[in-house]
């Protein structure tokens, strides 16, 4: 064990506290019986009951899940194919292709939101589910490509070569060797994409239309009208759900590194 300065350990603990304390407070407050302020008036689950009773929240949840499923599914089909195509065809490894593939992930989200809004309005495409799904695919597709490509680079090409030597057609190699070996990465990307889509606020905010309110939009409009204990409860649910999804995705991606010597950090 190398020596790590005590001040560094203390600092790290403070940072972890800083990262988690607000979330803990939020979850704690969602069980507080008090309607005003933060004084603790006893434990209650009534805010959660209120959430379940509210039909608009149920609607928003269904919308969110529907959009997340469709955008993740489509992004997966396109993204896995793109990742395989880019890795296998060395001729397509041009810097600008790589650039376009990661750019949607690294520009401020608001730019994507306003740019898409203008395209949709100028092309007279009605805002709604379709536009939100397209918007989410713009960041879900690169996300899938990045994750699947990382895994592809670590795969031993000997497996595919062996299959080809044994007379497998390209289609056979793809469906029986490459895709099964990519499975953990594909699951990881799917869960992450699902979470990001479920959580997205900024792009959705710009391209949503009437009747396509998602959960984050609902939370936002609730915060704007005034802070109520129901917001705390809804927020707590959303935090816990995304933590579970990310945890699962993390597990899948860890499993996909088994057998390779390198550690994955991102």
């Amino acid at each position: 064990m190398k020596r790590i300065p005590t001040s560094f350990l203390l600092n790290s603990m403070m940072v972890m506290l800083f990262l988690y304390l607000p979330v803990v407070i939020l979850i704690g407050m969602s069980f507080n019986a008090s309607t005003m302020g933060i004084a603790w008036k006893g434990f209650t689950v009534q805010w959660y009951q209120k959430l379940v009773m509210d039909p608009s929240i149920l609607d928003a949840t269904l919308n969110s899940v529907f959009i997340a499923c469709v955008s993740t599914g489509l992004a997966l089909i396109l993204g896995v194919g793109t990742a395989i195509g880019l890795e296998k065809n060395q001729g397509m490894q041009m810097p600008w292709v790589n650039m376009v593939m990661v750019l949607p992930l690294v520009i401020p989200e608001i730019l994507l939101g306003v740019a898409l809004l203008m395209v949709f309005v100028l092309c007279r495409i009605p805002l709604g589910f379709g536009t939100i799904i397209i918007g989410h695919m713009v960041f879900n597709l690169p996300l899938t490509v990045v994750i699947v490509r990382a895994r592809l680079r670590k795969l031993d090409p000997a497996w595919e070569d062996a299959a080809r030597d044994l007379g497998a057609t390209p289609w056979n190699v793809l469906t029986r060797i490459t895709l099964p070996m990519l499975r953990p990465a594909i699951w990881g990307a799917a869960l992450l994409g699902f979470t990001v889509s479920l959580d997205d606020f900024v792009v959705t905010f710009f391209v949503a239309g009437p009747g396509s309110t998602t959960l984050p939009l609902k939370v936002f409009s609730m915060i704007k009208t005034g802070i109520t204990p129901e917001i705390n409860a809804l927020s707590a649910v959303m935090v816990v759900v995304s933590m579970i999804c990310v945890g699962l995705s993390w597990l899948f991606q860890q499993r996909s590194t088994v057998g390779s010597s390198e550690s994955t950090l991102s």
Partner: protein
């Protein structure tokens, strides 16, 4: 025979590759070009776009009011980056030098907030900073305050929100960079009688440079274009570029000016990525 098969990939893969390219061109590249196009157009009578070429929208960027918001955004983004470096480096060092199990645990702990709903995490700070929020109640109970401080909608609340939101972006690249530095180099420095401080200054910090650059860009860019944080924690008082762009598009409905603002932000971002791409870090890992 085999070479022929190995160079040509399966047919559906090519089709999919093409459709992904078309999709991203249509819904990513074209929209960004459109932003540039509209930024050179004029505002129509009822908030639409009149296709008359003009530089006026860019001239309006020099307006003192807009200038203040630009300046504040750059200042906040810069300050956030610096604080993230200072706060994140010790944690990154501990993570890079921790045992494998600890590293995995800490990485997971840093990753989770990174992917958790940003809106909700920012909202948690509203609960903390409100006049009757956690912080004020706590300080008043301790007898440190007579009456609540107005913390929400100040520079402090926006700034804390930004650091909170983007700190993981700094920590992760730093961990990668520090992990690449051999611990033997540190030992060598100590063997040559370097103090802890001297070792950091002359060995660790210079060698972690790629991590600082990557983390810096990853924190600076989203901070510069942040929307949720200045909206929820800054209100109307502490506007940043993100809130100004949103206002131009959805409230004032001045799309050409909003586009000019967006393109200004976009240009800054692309310039930063271009500069990052020229460093070794950008070339080695994408």
């Amino acid at each position: 025979m085999t070479t022929c098969l190995s160079t040509s990939s399966a047919f559906p893969v090519k089709l999919i590759l093409l459709s992904a390219g078309i999709f991203l061109s249509l819904f990513f590249l074209v929209p960004l070009l459109l932003v540039f196009g509209v930024s050179l157009a004029s505002r129509g009578m009822y908030g639409g776009i009149a296709w008359i070429a003009t530089w006026e929208n860019y001239q309006r960027l020099l307006d003192p009011l807009v200038g203040t918001i630009f300046l504040r955004s750059f200042l906040f983004a810069g300050l956030t980056t610096i604080v993230c470096v200072v706060v994140g480096f010790p944690l990154a060092y501990c993570m890079a030098r921790a045992s494998r199990q600890w590293q995995l645990l800490l990485l997971t702990l840093v990753m989770i907030p990174f992917w958790t709903n940003f809106l909700v995490r920012t909202y948690a700070w509203v609960l903390i900073f409100r006049a009757d929020g956690i912080l004020n109640t706590f300080l008043m109970r301790l007898g440190l305050l007579e009456e609540p401080l107005s913390l929400l909608f100040t520079d402090v609340s926006v700034f804390v929100g930004l650091v909170y939101g983007y700190l993981p972006f700094m920590v992760l690249p730093l961990v990668v960079a520090i992990e690449r530095i051999s611990p033997q180099l540190e030992e060598a420095a100590f063997d040559l009688y370097a103090s802890m401080g001297a070792m950091f200054r002359h060995v660790l910090l210079p060698l972690s440079k790629p991590g600082f650059i990557a983390g810096g860009v990853l924190v600076f860019i989203p901070s510069l274009g942040a929307f949720i944080t200045p909206y929820l924690l800054g209100g109307g008082q502490k506007m940043m570029l993100g809130t100004l762009i949103q206002q131009e598009f959805l409230v004032s409905r001045d799309w050409p000016f909003g586009s000019a603002l967006s393109f200004g932000l976009m240009g800054t971002v692309l310039l930063l990525w271009f500069l990052l791409g020229r460093t070794s870090y950008g070339r080695n890992s994408s």
